[in-house]
């Protein structure tokens, strides 16, 4: 026992030796912008310190709350859809598709939306939903389903659904891939045992597969929520935030404050508020649903 201890402490020292420079550098690179943003948020255009005035303006701006509402609505639409659809597909393929060739083909099909640049996705979406030359209306009218052009991008509800549909199209395959891979690791014996016992697919899912998939669900949830807070490209091209400000989500709103209004102080204050809020919410969530158990 005693002979073992110096060796372990040497290993621990080695760990810190390797870890700290890398971690420290990254930490600095991540923190400097935050500090710069804080500094910018308390200075006026001419360089004088103005205290919390920018924060008051940022938080008092009703457009901020419109943006938050829009972002929340967007998240409420896309997150459940992506998770449920992805799960449904994963379960279906896992249970019914046996041939490796078919599975490989599905894999390739599923990664396609991940590799298309968001700008191109936005443009294709525009080609589908736009008034006048949008191909969706053309198809619907030629099938006789509707006789008048539907304003997919012009009505507030439809516009939100349109931009949400693009997100769902892009990210459901990702959820599918992750969950499908997860299902592969479920041990066959447990499944077979359950089937012998006469369990139907729902019970089988609830008691066996769900257990294995739970950590993945959490991870997916975290990554998708983070992405929804950052989503920008395809909405910018599809609606530009319109009609009015219906689809002006948080990052579009911040973009507008920064690059259209050039209100650097308010933009910086907004950035600081967003960063702090996210950190707080994040720590609360991870405390309640820890991803990494000790």
């Amino acid at each position: 026992m005693r002979a073992g201890r110096p060796r372990r402490s040497r290993q621990e020292r080695l760990a810190y030796l390797i870890l700290l420079p890398a971690l420290g550098t990254v930490f600095v690179i991540v923190t400097i912008p935050f500090i710069l943003a804080v500094v910018q948020s308390i200075t006026a255009e001419d360089g004088s310190l103005v205290g919390l005035r920018n924060y008051a303006r940022a938080l008092g701006n009703p457009l901020l709350y419109d943006a938050l509402r829009a972002t929340g609505l967007y998240a409420l639409i896309v997150l459940p859809s992506e998770v449920l659809l992805g799960l449904a597909f994963a379960l279906f393929v896992h249970r019914t598709v046996r041939r490796p060739a078919l599975r490989a083909t599905l894999y390739v099909l599923a990664i396609l939306p991940l590799v298309v640049p968001p700008v191109a996705v936005g443009v294709v979406a525009r080609l589908i939903y736009a008034p006048g030359y949008g191909v969706l209306n053309v198809i619907l009218m030629s099938l006789g389903i509707t006789h008048q052009e539907i304003q997919w991008l012009g009505r507030p509800v439809l516009a939100m659904l349109s931009v949400a549909s693009v997100d769902i199209w892009q990210w459901t395959p990702f959820v599918y891939l992750v969950l499908f891979a997860g299902l592969q690791t479920v041990p066959h014996e447990s499944v077979e045992a359950a089937q012998v016992d006469g369990a139907n697919w729902w019970t089988q899912f609830r008691h066996i597969e769900l257990y294995y998939l739970r950590p993945l669900f959490l991870l997916i949830f975290f990554f998708r929520v983070a992405d929804v807070l950052r989503v920008f490209d395809h909405i910018f091209i599809l609606t530009g935030g319109g009609p009015g400000t219906t689809t002006q989500l948080l990052s579009l709103y911040m973009y507008r404050t920064e690059f259209k209004f050039f209100d650097m102080g308010q933009a910086a204050a907004l950035a600081v508020v967003v960063l702090i809020s996210i950190s707080v919410v994040y720590s609360l969530i991870t405390r309640a649903l820890p991803l990494e158990r000790a």
Binding site: E12, V119, V123, A181, G182, F222, A226, R230
Partner: protein
Amino acid sequence: MRRNGLIYASRVAAIALGMAVVGVLYAFPLYWLVATSLKSKAELYASTISLVPRHPTLQPYVSVLIDRGFWVLLKNSVLVCASTVVVTLAVGLLITYPITRLPVPVGLRVGVLNWALSLRFLPPIAVVIPYFAIVRTLQIYDQPIALIAIYSLFNLPFAIWMLKGFLAEIPMEIEEVALVDGANRWTAFVRVLFPLAAPGLLAAGIIVFTFAWSEFLFALILTATPNAQTFPVGVQGLVTQFEIIWNEMAAAGVIAMLVPLLLMVIGRRYMVAGLTFGVIREK
């Protein structure tokens, strides 16, 4: 028995039909992207939209790559993304190896992992201006190195979590055996651990490459000329004020798709393993 089988079969058929419909909906945008990229300018201005290109042509591709000189941007993208993979994996290993293979306090391990995940929540738009200021101060504006640094930073969370999964799965005994045999840590790492972790590294590398490939905001702000501009910047540039050049835009989109697609297809064996982030352990 037979009736059960019939109900079961019809249910599967119904689900399959539903899946087929969804499949068509899913594949259509991709088809439309490719179809638009093969149309000529005149066809875009026709009074009626054709579902299949009437006179398919590869002219948009030629125009994008050669006339507009986007192949330079493509080259930049490859350079930046490949370098990002190297840097991200290296830094990721530096952070992940100690906390998975060496005895560190559990609190530190959990803390580092959680902190890494929280980085993903950073909205780029919130930090783009401070980074612009930093890049200018360091005099690396319009240089690929600026993008490599930023992309590595934003992809680190993903890489850390994937690497953690792979490294944690490899039994400690393997390294211990090498150490007992007289090798030092470094040799043990290179000779024993690395080959075993290679699939994970490959998977992580491919995913990092893909995410870095499509990045647009920083590429726009931190570059000024084709010296460092990447492909997505060029693609966005086809959305002009008075004319969106649909066919060339679609062609650029298809080109942009092909590189990461190729990588993902080649590395598919490792991808499946990589996508579970090693969170699920083989029991």
